[in-house]
């Protein structure tokens, strides 16, 4: 009886938690959002909680209280699972909270969504700020994740249809992209959003067949690694236990290898996408993030298996060199000001020097599993780049030096005069709207062409931060203006 009373108490608490989450959704939905994605996300969570609340009562009703205590453990586990899902959904409301207009670099949201739609028209993305300092792409389709959570409950709520009653609004792949809230207006860093678009494209490259090929390539070597680990076990261990331990070791190492491989290719090929979309600006942004940590951090569970920054810089630089025409940058970009061009070229030389060092590869070789996997990664990168340019159409959209450089001088000049670089007005002809890539590169070249400290004294300039922020704001405004002008040009009354 005591157990029944406890279960009733628990059911009441689960239902109360579900109600709280639903109420939070209601309050959040009163906020202002720039895109339709966050309200869809909140309303879906609201409906999921209503569904789980109903399921909770049905699970309770299904318990046979005449059975001994141990026979109702499974029912309690099902209740606990339900409770846990509600708690997780509550946590996920933070994504909606951080996707409110006031938390976003809203000037670029519309342009960014349009850019994504150019490659993946059927995908919904939700941009959100996060307190943690990182850019992150949620590879998992949130719609699929939500559906998996509720899949086992239909038997308890037979009168409701999941697709009709819960997921009616989440009817296309839904992905979350996070950026550091600290950099809300740091447009130069937001070139890395091009990298995040890459994540969406790369998913289709990392197929089950390619995974299976990796497993085939590594299986025998991983089995040897497991044998070496087994030698550390006591000889007294029984044969079947030893066999089981070996199988567990192989299973976990294979799983780990897959994770290493996926993460490496996800990041490197997403870097490729960033470079293809935004040219040198993507490389400069990567260095800005890379310099905040060590360049040779070995991929591991602690670092979410990110490939080392040095490898990523090398990869980006190689891709730009392969495209050709980018470096050294011509003096013409600054209307013949050789000093400003030299400063930009110095930055490129610095990246080249960093990329030439092989210390990242040495660090990776210290882990035998990582070493094996990165051998396979290296063999796959070229095919991945081809996939992006040919299959996913980035080849047609890519920024090229031939097209981009002639348009930069007037954009850089506008920035020099504190005018947003949203249009090219070199002649009496109708103005030409600048592209996302042109605006970002103009801003990067302008920034790199001038010293960060006072050029005369060589000391930190107290107004330098304001100048930097002004340029960021001008660039953000340019992206917004260019988007509005494009929309207006396409608009037909």
């Amino acid at each position: 009886m005591l157990q029944k009373e406890l279960a009733q108490h628990y059911v009441l608490e689960i239902a109360a938690r579900a109600t709280t989450v639903q109420n939070r959704c209601t309050r959040l939905l009163d906020e202002e959002f720039f895109s339709t994605a966050p309200p869809i996300f909140a309303r879906t969570i609201q409906r999921m909680c209503a569904y789980l609340s109903k399921a909770t009562l049905a699970i309770y009703d299904d318990i046979d209280w005449s059975l001994p205590a141990e026979d109702i453990d499974d029912d309690l586990r099902i209740l606990q699972n339900t409770d846990q899902i509600i708690k997780i959904l509550n946590q996920q409301l933070r994504y909606v909270e951080a996707a409110r207009t006031e938390r976003l670099p809203w000037s670029i949201v519309a342009s960014f969504e349009k850019l994504v739609a150019a490659f993946l028209p059927n995908i919904q993305i939700m941009l959100r700020a996060m307190w943690q300092y990182n850019y992150a792409f949620h590879m998992l389709d949130q719609g699929q994740v939500f559906r998996r959570y509720l899949a086992g409950y239909h038997a308890y709520v037979p009168d409701m249809e999941l697709e009709r009653d819960v997921f009616q609004e989440m009817n296309r792949p839904f992905h979350i992209i996070s950026f550091p809230s600290l950099e809300q207006k740091h447009i130069l860093l937001h070139c890395l959003l091009g990298h995040e678009i890459g994540h969406l494209l790369v998913t289709e490259f990392l197929t089950k067949e390619r995974e299976a090929a990796l497993i085939d390539a590594l299986k025998s070597e991983i089995s040897k690694l497991a044998d070496e680990d087994l030698q550390q076990l006591p000889d007294s261990l029984e044969e079947e236990a030893r066999r089981a331990v070996k199988e567990a070791l192989i299973g976990r190492k294979l799983e780990e290898a897959l994770f290493f491989w996926r993460r490496a290719l996800e990041e490197l090929l997403s870097d490729s996408a960033g470079v293809l979309l935004f040219g040198p600006a993507a490389l400069f942004s990567t260095l800005d993030l890379a310099m905040q940590t060590s360049l040779d951090v070995v991929p591991s569970a602690d670092t979410d298996y990110y490939p080392p920054w040095r490898m990523r810089l090398r990869h980006g630089l190689e891709l730009l060199d392969h495209q050709g025409g980018w470096f050294p940058i011509p003096d013409d970009l600054f209307k013949g000001d050789t000093e400003r061009a030299r400063r930009v070229n110095d930055r490129v030389s610095l990246i080249r020097d960093l990329a030439a060092k092989q210390s990242d590869r040495f660090e990776i070789s210290k882990s035998r599993l990582a070493h094996l996997v990165y051998r396979e990664v290296a063999a796959m990168v070229s095919a991945g780049n081809l996939f992006l340019t040919n299959t996913k159409g980035l080849g047609h959209q890519q920024a090229t030096a031939v097209e981009l450089y002639p348009r930069l001088p007037s954009l850089i000049e506008r920035l020099d005069y504190n005018i947003p670089p949203n249009a090219i007005e070199d002649a009496i002809d109708p103005e030409q709207i600048a592209t996302f890539a042109e605006i970002l590169n103009a801003a990067w070249f302008k920034k790199l062409s001038l010293p960060s400290f006072d050029p005369v004294t060589g000391q930190f300039d107290p107004v330098g931060v304001e100048t930097r922020n002004l340029m960021n704001n001008l660039t953000l405004k340019a992206i917004e203006f260019a988007h509005l002008a494009t929309e207006y040009a396409e608009w037909k009354p």
Binding site: D71, R77, I78, N134, I176, E240, A244, E247, G251, D304
Partner: protein
Amino acid sequence: MPSPALVDLSQASANAMLTARTSKAISAVLRGNALDPRNQQVVERAAEFLKGVVQGSVLVENTQFVGVSASHENLREFVRALSALQSLNLLSQNATVAEVFSSYRVQLLDLAKGQQVPGDDLQRLRRFFSELSSYFYSDLTRPVSEHRGDRLPPEP
């Protein structure tokens, strides 16, 4: 680091739910009840789940197994299922792990078809699924930051 972006708990939740419901369905049979259509569906899905586990074990054992091809897609489930076997001392000297899982799957399929399955086998199956459910549930409830470490320890 974007750990929440990389960790999918929904599969652990779905597995915890399926395995708990399977254990519950087998308990009902052990008490002499016939398998109702709802529980029959649960048992069939559990058999399908075990097929993935067998595929993982065939891959790891690097062996041939009649009617089952090796696959890496359910390696996590395989590792958890193996842990459940170990903790319940259900490993056998006379059978490989793949054979043990495969025999469980056959028993589930027999049960779903309404055929008789010996009581001892049912008891073992129930314990296995109950234990497996607790493994998946603990995956679900661990803080996300710990999932990052849910890998092998660093190599020396």
